[in-house]
């Protein structure tokens, strides 16, 4: 079966493999003997059992194991953040006190935001799915700096410990935005939390550096930039933002700490500082951070839609470059968080204009994904279901973003529930759905098992219904004027709040079912095949679960990852042994 033939990397003349003409360009670099490597089904030894014991996990430099450790960590944080959200929604069933007092409520919404953003959303796709899949998609044995990768995980844990200390020693009630002068004057352990987020930033930066170097230096023979899976373009764009924006957050938090600890006036007007300066600094990180959260999601959606439509991606370069465009323009729109804060009308105009500009590449992606489905062979498996839920909810998130970019209307909607609903549609309705699509898509490769497709669809449906019941009413009450971060509210908003709370319960049931069937799959799910989705991408050309070093051969990439018109045999190529 195995055909061995001569192949040269780089740009070379046409080569014949198994009777099919493969055009690879003109210039000759070096000759490689390649042959077909079909993945072994149900391998006995793989990365999960190659080494045993707790220490082998804690000291591992295997990117896949590090990815799984991140997965465990963010699952814990998602559980905490989600529980807090349900508590908040329950409190909001009635105006004034339902079961907690105002100060507790203020602390809980702060923690919900801080945990979900800094400890769940930012690391979710890059650190979990990115770590697991990026080297495999590149055809590499690991990331460029495996030890640095492990270090970034422990830095993340140290940051998390600081956050927990902050929560148990007074908590914080500043909102996740830490706006001054409130945050420099309020009680509670703000310093510990900002230090936690500060430390966490380094984890993010190190992961970004690692990914960029890995993508540049460790691509398999034949894997040119125009064959790079779109997931990697997404992670590449994300890494750029992580490296450039995160230090600004670190500086800002450091200045805030200096103000609180040493009384140096930077942001607090009582000390001669400027509170609006803090907002500029903060959003200079935190708006790009929104793209740190969403851009890798775009990558996952591209993979999933192409795979489950079994069709070439439409507009490869449009999707790849729009991710980069979003990454760069995303740096220049931070002022749209401050239209009511007191910046000049000129600045306001420029920020509004750039905000609309960044909407265009995002819209283009939506159309490209739709066009990919056109004339495809669509299978509605769970990952695809999540991708379609993403398309619907993220589109709503995007349109309401356009609404908020419109200056005069933003004045009315700023800091109301409309904004709350908007960013939940983008972050939860978009990003979390993309993460779930990716998790269900790569699950067989991660654990070598399949989850229950039936329960997965039940759960997806409940999450979808629950999400929309929770957040759609928030658009309406926001437009009517319900401000955000309100413990108490006037009676007219109660029907919307009650609906929203019911939605959050439905969502909670959906996520509980998900936890159960995933755990079940983990322990005694049926074995997954190497390529259950029939994908052409490189990560599906190795056994499930992945071998300890990903590839037992040096993979050679002849075609793009979405070339579904090519036979599978052309995607399972590797450098042949010397003896051939």
């Amino acid at each position: 079966m195995a055909t061995t033939s001569s192949f040269t990397t780089g740009k070379i003349s046409a080569e014949t493999i198994g009777g099919n003409g493969v055009s690879l360009g003109e210039k000759e670099v070096k000759k490689l003997k390649i042959k077909r490597f079909e993945p072994v089904e149900e391998p006995q030894i793989h990365y999960l059992n190659a080494e045993k014991g707790l220490w082998s996990w804690l000291s591992t430099v295997d990117h896949k194991r590090i990815g799984l450790m991140y997965l465990a960590a963010i699952a814990v944080f998602f559980l905490i953040g989600g529980t807090l959200a349900v508590l908040l929604r329950t409190e909001l069933l009635t105006p004034a006190k339902t079961f907690m007092d105002a100060d507790t409520y203020n602390q809980i919404f702060t923690l919900h935001g801080a945990i979900m953003i800094f400890f769940f959303l930012v690391p979710s796709v890059p650190a979990v799915l990115g770590n697991f899949i990026l080297p495999i998609q590149l055809g590499a044995k690991d990331v460029a700096f495996p030890r640095l990768n492990l270090a970034s995980f422990y830095i993340y844990l140290i940051g998390a410990i600081f956050a927990f200390v902050s929560i148990t020693t007074g908590g914080i009630d500043t909102g996740w935005t830490f706006y001054t002068p409130y945050s420099s004057s309020t009680g509670g352990n703000v310093m510990m939390m900002t230090l936690g987020v500060f430390i966490l930033g380094f984890s993010s930066i190190l992961t970004g550096v690692n990914f960029i170097v890995t993508i540049h230096k460790l691509r398999a023979p034949g894997l040119t930039w125009n064959k790079l899976p779109l997931n990697l373009w997404g992670l590449y764009a994300t890494s750029i933002i992580q490296i450039l924006a995160t230090p600004v957050l670190a500086i800002t938090l450091l200045l805030l700490t200096m103000e609180r600890a040493l009384g140096i006036g930077i942001f607090d007007p009582a000390l001669g500082g400027d509170p609006v300066l803090f907002q500029h600094f903060f959003w200079f990180y935190s708006h790009p951070a929104v793209y740190i959260m969403i851009v890798p999601g775009f990558g996952i959606i591209s993979e999933v839609i192409s795979t489950f439509s079994r069709k070439t991606i439409f507009g490869y370069w449009a999707i790849a470059l729009s991710s980069l465009a979003i990454a760069f323009i995303g740096f220049l729109v931070w002022g749209h968080h401050m239209f009511t804060a007191g910046q000049s009308s000129l600045a306001t105009m420029v920020f509004s204009f750039l905000t609309f500009l960044v909407g265009i590449p995002t819209g283009i992606k939506i159309f490209n994904w739709l066009a990919t489905m056109y004339k495809g062979s669509i299978q509605l498996s769970t990952p695809m279901l999540y991708a379609l839920i993403f398309l619907f909810q993220f589109t709503i998130g995007g349109f309401t973003g356009v609404m908020l970019g419109a200056l005069s209307v933003d004045i009315h909607l700023h800091d109301t529930y409309y904004v709350v609903a908007h960013f939940h549609y983008v972050m939860m309705g978009g990003m979390v759905m993309a993460f779930l699509a990716g998790l269900h898509y790569w699950w067989p490769k991660m654990f070598g098992t399949m989850y229950s497709e039936f329960w997965a669809k039940v759960s997806a449906t409940l999450v979808f219904v629950g999400f929309n019941v929770t957040f759609f009413p928030q658009f309406i009450m926001g437009a009517q004027g319900m401000p955000r971060r309100y413990y108490n509210y006037i009676d007219q908003f109660q029907p919307f709040h009650v609906t929203s709370t019911i939605g959050s319960y439905i969502m909670a049931v959906g996520f509980t079912i998900m936890a159960i069937y995933l755990l079940h799959a983990l322990i005694k799910g049926r074995k997954a095949s190497a390529n259950p989705w029939g994908s052409r991408a490189l990560e599906w050309q190795i056994p499930s679960p992945a071998p300890a070093h990903n590839f037992d051969h040096t993979p050679v990439v002849l075609n793009g990852p979405y070339d579904y018109h090519r036979p599978m045999s052309e995607f399972q190529m590797g450098v042949a042994d010397k003896k051939h």
Partner: protein
């Protein structure tokens, strides 16, 4: 349209509201058309191109320049319309007419105070005439607040250490709610006020009498009105329940344990000091969060409040 709009937008009671609402509707209707198209395409594709077998052959469609340019340019034109429209509206919101009637507004944890040209101070209520531009010159005495009147579609952050301003022109007499929309701590969600819009004549009358209205009242009644007007009950209950501050119930003559451990008896001077410089004496178990009323209340008013507090038990 209007009855439908009542479901998702507050009543439009200012001169600028109609333009903002029109843009709001334009964006939502355009978005809805796109969204319906996208959802219809998803359903149609999933149905029409459902996988028949594992050997389905799909066409190779890598791109289509004409199509891609179309779906880039049309949204671009649309968002530029929205941009221009929104910016024009914004300039209008930022540019107060030169003949605007000015009122000082002060935000503090957790109340709104308004000062008029004739020296009258009202807390929690802003009185204005209809059909006349009103410009608020605002600042905060502690943290950032934000002045928001949904009915007028206006909002502006209120900062410590600098002035900011906002203007509006109410189109009909009546009342509208003011919210604080920048998170400012414990009672953030209770930091509300109302705008009371009078007809022009009524406003003149109100102006002329407001400052004098208190003159003839017996002290206890005056005190009660002042407690209400100054939003004291946001934090101090009169039924004995504990809010952000100690309850007023039975306060006069009570033995009060302070943060520093001393025990004081609540008398006239204690109350006076607590109103003017609340941070100087904090009751045990409470946070130093009350704003000072120095300059807001005069001696007669404080005496009246003390008389009123004596009656609550």
């Amino acid at each position: 349209m209007n009855r439908f709009q009542d479901f998702y937008l507050p009543p439009a009671k200012s001169t600028v509201a109609a333009d903002t609402d029109a843009l709001f509707n334009f964006v939502h209707i355009t978005s809805l058309i796109f969204l319906i198209g996208i959802v219809a395409a998803i359903f149609y594709f999933v149905y029409k191109y459902k996988r028949r077998s594992e050997h389905d052959v799909t066409p190779v469609i890598t791109h289509n320049n004409a199509l891609e340019i179309t779906w880039s340019v049309i949204p671009f034109i649309l968002v530029m319309i929205v941009f221009g429209w929104g910016f024009r509206g914004y300039l209008n919101l930022r540019t107060a007419p030169t003949d605007a009637y000015e009122v000082r507004a002060i935000g503090k944890k957790w109340l709104w105070e308004f000062r008029y040209a004739n020296g009258f101070v009202s807390v929690g209520e802003l009185h204005v005439p209809e059909d006349r531009p009103i410009k608020l010159i605002m600042n905060s005495t502690d943290v950032i607040h934000s002045f928001y009147v949904p009915d007028y579609r206006i909002k502006r952050d209120v900062l410590p250490g600098r002035y900011s301003s906002v203007w509006f022109e109410a189109t009909e007499p009546g009342e509208s709610t003011v919210f604080c929309t920048e998170y400012c701590g414990t009672a953030h969600s209770n930091m509300m006020a109302k705008v009371v819009v009078h007809t022009k004549e009524d406003f003149e009358t109100w102006m002329a009498t407001a400052a004098l209205a208190d003159a003839g009242l017996p002290p206890v009644e005056l005190g009660q009105q002042l407690v209400q007007r100054n939003a004291c009950q946001t934090c101090h209950s009169i039924d004995g329940s504990a809010l952000q501050g100690p309850t007023f119930k039975g306060i006069f003559g009570r033995q009060q344990k302070m943060e520093d451990g001393t025990v004081v008896t609540v008398d006239e001077n204690y109350i006076r000091q607590s109103i003017l410089q609340p941070q100087s004496q904090i009751v045990e178990g409470y946070l130093p969060v009350m704003p000072p009323y120095q300059g807001t209340l005069n001696d007669d008013q404080i005496s009246a409040i003390i008389e009123y507090l004596k009656t609550i038990d």
